[in-house]
């Protein structure tokens, strides 16, 4: 296997390196008003009919023969610029595109080239410019990228109001969520009703459902790559918003004009303060969260730029003598370096941390519980713009994980015994190479290979369990002593074949490995969910996905459509044995069951990109099943996220210069759940009898939201807007949970009780910028 890898690696390098010598046109593409780099802007050489797009740092590079050319730089929402160049040597052209003044007439969903969706080899990809979230109606007026991506086919929400999401049948922990390259381990606030992403601080996001490029690794189902704004490098600006439950403020300014800038963005909720006004008993208690994003960048010269980005967020809950807080910290230090016009390098040092802490004062003792995960991550990526037909990417990364599975300590007169579970540490590393290649005018492909490795290390005492959960071996390991190694070859491939100017067929394949796993004590997003490493007992998860799609645009690319089908096989999936105890359990691995899963489906997407009316319809027909020897008598059963039908309709209409109306409607098949199929009496109480796992369905979910956005007076110095939203307009009582219990009023009667969370909810938000 190793030899195969090397052969592939060398094959395309020889191809790339021996390619014909030509000259290179390169540079950065930026927004002329703010200095923000534009991601995915198009560079097109008109005489040659070839082009490229800028990378996530706004950098582009294209190698072409000598000649006189017209080069067109374009990005949706910006005025196209055409440069005439006499191109007889390497040239650097940095471009600043002017935002279109008529931009407000068009609500666009992505900034990509108009037929990029058909031409590119990418499939199963969702891109979103964060600006486009502004008009979509949302719960409590809090716009949220994690909720908006759930409106796309193949992505479904983990429950009412939840930011957790399932991608093509994968669990919520199988999504790699990156904020400026740093993994975010718990992307939710307040039990998942809000995400950690404050959209004011964000520039764009891209979600890979399939065809995940080889440079990403570590999760089975998807990658959500989120980028923060760099900050305005031209002038000081301030923007913010005031809503019913939270407010936001963002400051941006140049450090040195056109050379460096920074952005600081904060958000805090105050629903608890509002609630205290109505309920005096709640005073003195609190429940809120805050976020702080900060980023700075500086251009050291023609060839070097550095970026420092950080995120800090925390939820706080205080109720009498009980305190509970949790949150993420991330920091990314990046260095972009151009070795030459064709070799772009990015070096990153990344820190990620998630933890929770509980403090309870009772019986003259103070008890504290905590758990978490911490990463140190080194990452080196190269992009080599070999020629106009080949762009190679290669690199490696090494993550040092420290897991804190949990500890309980107490002090005081009536203190408990302490429970301290051993820390665990592991290296997770990957090396990859990939190439994006154009063959002729019709065929595009992106292929690569990632070799991932996981080394779990001492110190600590580790048990081996048999399938009944009995210990078969206990061994003690010294510091840095190797406990177990895993590795995996992860081929990735996607290709498109252009049938004609407006349609294409695409295929993709990916194999992914996941070495760390989330153990959750509940089906909702939960701060006490813990990440655990692969170990002697827990094998890395493996998934393979095959997909094929047909893409077609209509009416001059005004309409985009696609139909994709996928099949995903999942191995070494984790579930719990009955009665499993996830929290503070030294023997938690004995409570785990291991099995397989499969997911397949059809996704249909129709989008209107341009005009007064824009929006999309997404439909997913899917099936997701699991099989565990120890669950459901070894028979296949529906996964909780098995949703036969999932429909999202999103539309917005620009009524006038002042008003924009928007609406979305969501419908999906109820989750697969376990209900009782009988009862019996123990100790005078009715005990439900469960038979089949997930043999029942929650009621189907549907909901309509609407919003109206009013643009206030727009001047050069100040502009503001009002957003009015109605969530769940027709007040459909969607079931959040259904529980079964003995009736309180009638003895010898049982009842099913449905809990619905959000009925019709109005909200109002005022946004400003100056």
């Amino acid at each position: 296997m190793k030899i195969n890898f090397l052969i592939v690696f060398f094959l395309f390098f020889t191809q790339v390196l021996f390619a014909q010598e030509k000259n290179t046109l390169s540079g950065y593409i930026k927004d002329g008003s703010t200095g923000e780099e534009l991601i995915g802007a198009t560079v097109y050489i008109q005489e040659l009919s070839i082009g490229t797009v800028s990378n996530v740092y706004g950098f582009y590079s294209i190698t072409i023969p000598a000649g006189d050319y017209h080069v067109r730089y374009s990005y949706i929402g910006y005025e196209t610029e055409v440069d005439s160049i006499d191109f007889y040597a390497n040239q650097v052209i940095n471009i600043e595109l002017k935002p279109q003044s008529t931009q407000l007439d068009e609500v666009v969903i992505t900034g990509e080239q108009s037929d990029e969706n058909v031409r590119s080899a990418e499939m199963g990809v969702v891109k979103m410019d964060v600006k486009d979230l502004d008009v979509i109606p949302v719960l409590f007026g809090e716009k949220d990228i994690l909720k908006t991506i759930q409106l796309m086919p193949g992505v479904s929400g983990a429950g009412e109001g939840s930011t957790g999401f399932y991608v093509r049948g994968g669990n919520t922990d199988q999504n790699l969520i990156l904020l400026d390259e740093a993994p975010v381990y718990n992307a939710s606030h307040l039990l998942g009703f809000f995400s950690v992403f404050n959209s004011d601080a964000l520039k764009d996001m891209k979600l890979y459902k399939s065809g995940i490029p080889a440079r990403y690794g570590g999760r089975l189902s998807s990658v959500l790559d989120v980028h923060m704004n760099n900050g305005n490098s031209k002038k000081f600006t301030m923007q913010g918003g005031i809503g019913i439950i939270s407010s936001r403020l963002t400051l941006e300014a140049p450090i040195v004009k056109d050379k460096g800038s920074f952005i600081i963005s904060g958000r805090r909720t105050y629903a608890d303060v509002v609630y205290s006004i109505f309920d005096p008993d709640f005073r003195g208690n609190s429940l809120y969260f805050y976020d702080l994003n900060a980023k700075a960048n500086y251009t050291l010269g023609e060839k070097d730029r550095i970026y420092l980005s950080t995120y800090f967020g925390r939820d706080k809950f205080e109720f009498g003598n009980f305190g509970f807080d949790w949150g993420n910290k991330t920091a990314t230090l990046r260095w972009n370096h151009l070795y030459n016009e064709r070799l772009f390098s990015n070096t990153s040092f990344i820190y990620s941390n998630y933890n929770y802490k509980i403090k309870a004062e009772m019986s003259e003792a103070v008890t504290r519980i905590s758990s978490g995960i911490e990463d140190l991550n080194f990452k080196q990526d190269f992009s080599f713009y070999a020629n106009s037909n080949n762009t190679a990417r290669f690199g490696f990364n090494v993550i040092y994980h420290t897991f804190f599975p949990g500890e309980l300590t107490s002090e005081g007169e009536n203190a408990f015994n302490d429970i301290i579970l051993d820390q665990q540490q592991a290296f997770e590393s990957g090396i990859y190479a990939s190439n994006e290649q154009k063959i002729g005018t019709r065929f595009n492909m992106n292929y690569g290979l990632r070799l991932s490795m996981f080394n779990s290390m001492g110190p600590g005492t580790f048990n081996t369990y048999d399938s009944d959960g009995s210990i078969t071996n206990t061994q003690e390991y010294d510091s840095w002593e190797n406990i177990i190694n895993y590795y995996g070859f992860e081929p990735r491939m996607s290709a498109s074949f252009l049938l004609n100017e407006v349609s294409s067929i695409k295929v993709s394949f990916q194999r992914t490995y996941q070495y760390i796993h989330l153990l959750s004590s509940s089906t909702s997003e939960n701060p006490t969910d813990i990440w655990v490493p692969s170990s002697i007992n827990v094998k890395p998860g493996i998934a393979e996905q095959y997909s094929i799609g047909y893409f077609r645009n209509f009416f001059d690319d005004k309409f985009e459509t696609s139909v994709e089908v996928y099949y995903k096989d999942m191995h070494n999936q984790i579930d719990y044995k009955d009665g499993a105890n996830v929290l503070l359990n030294e023997y938690v691995e004995a409570d785990l069951a291991f099995g397989i899963g499969r997911s397949y489906g059809l996704e249909v997407f129709l989008k209107k990109r341009l005009g007064k009316f824009t929006g999309w319809i997404g439909y997913t027909l899917g099936k997701t099943e699991k099989q565990f020897d120890q669950i459901n008598e070894g028979n296949w059963y529906s996964a909780r996220q098995d949703r036969r039908h999932d429909i999202s309709i999103v539309g917005s209409y620009k009524l006038s210069q002042k008003w924009t109306l928007a609406a979305n409607w969501i419908y999906y098949t109820g989750d697969a759940v376990t209900f009782p199929s009988g009862q019996y009496i123990i100790d005078g109480n009715s005990v439900p009898l469960y038979t089949e796992r997930n043999g029942y369905r929650m009621p189907d979910y549907h909901r309509l939201d609407i919003s109206a956005t009013y643009m206030g007076k727009q001047t050069r110095r100040f502009n503001s807007s009002w957003n009015f939203s109605l969530y769940n307009v027709y007040a459909h009582e969607n079931a959040y949970s259904i529980s079964f219990r003995e009736s309180e009023d009638n003895p010898y009667e049982n009842e099913a009780v449905q809990l619905s969370l959000f009925s019709i909810i109005p909200s109002i938000t005022w946004n400003f910028k100056f």
Binding site: A271, S522, D578, L583, Q679, Y680, P688, Q754, L755
Partner: protein, 271 residues
Amino acid sequence: MKNLVNIIILLFSVLFLLSCEKVIDVDLKDAESRLVIEGNITSDAGPYTVYLSKSGSYFDYSTLERVENGEVIISDENGYSEVLNEVSPGIYQTQNMQGEENTNYSIQVVSEGEIYTAEEYLPNKVEIDTMYFEKDEPGSYGNDENTVTYSIYCVFTDPAETVDYYRFKIYTNGLLEEAGFGTYLVTDDELFNGITFPVRFAGREVVPGDTVKIELQTTGFNTYEYFRTVNDAIGGGGMGSTPYNPITNLDNDALGYFGAYNNSASEVVIQ
């Protein structure tokens, strides 16, 4: 800890006054009826009772039948065994048997040609050292300022050398606290192994003059495991983990459990 999550969800929902609970109709399947065995052997004086019944439809109590003409035998590890008498339909009792601590017991039930067995250990007694009470701070535990509540403390010393399992039963003026969602109070000794520890039952709405009695049962592991997991089964179906049948020591797909416990009790009068 799962309760903690529920509390937070509850709090969150209350906070926004948005949640709504209603009784709905759900069409449930009827699983094949299974034998239910419930029996305990204790250190208290006999007779000890074993109940045999059948599971039935979730919404129809009339389908729950007692099982007559079963053969029920309880034996101890020393070779003593006794066939239980059916004293009334589905209710079987011992005559002479006396539960001894630090002894293993087994049960065998024969019903409709099927044999069911289980084993359980009757552990040593742990005495309650003392009990006392304390008035809670007004406004604690989600109550308003005017509700007066008390904390009852039950102090005992856990033996250091063994892993011990406990079940608490609380009686106010002789009335047992109704079991319901998560109210089988069971715990292992992980947090207080080998120490003298006051277990606190907080936020109780009692008034001066009330007598609060606590039974401290040391139970066998299987008994503890059953009551720990029956809490999940009774409270299941919410946003917790997937609900499941409680973990039983009975074989052959029987429901229920065969338990053993050693009882000590104490009481305190609120003043």
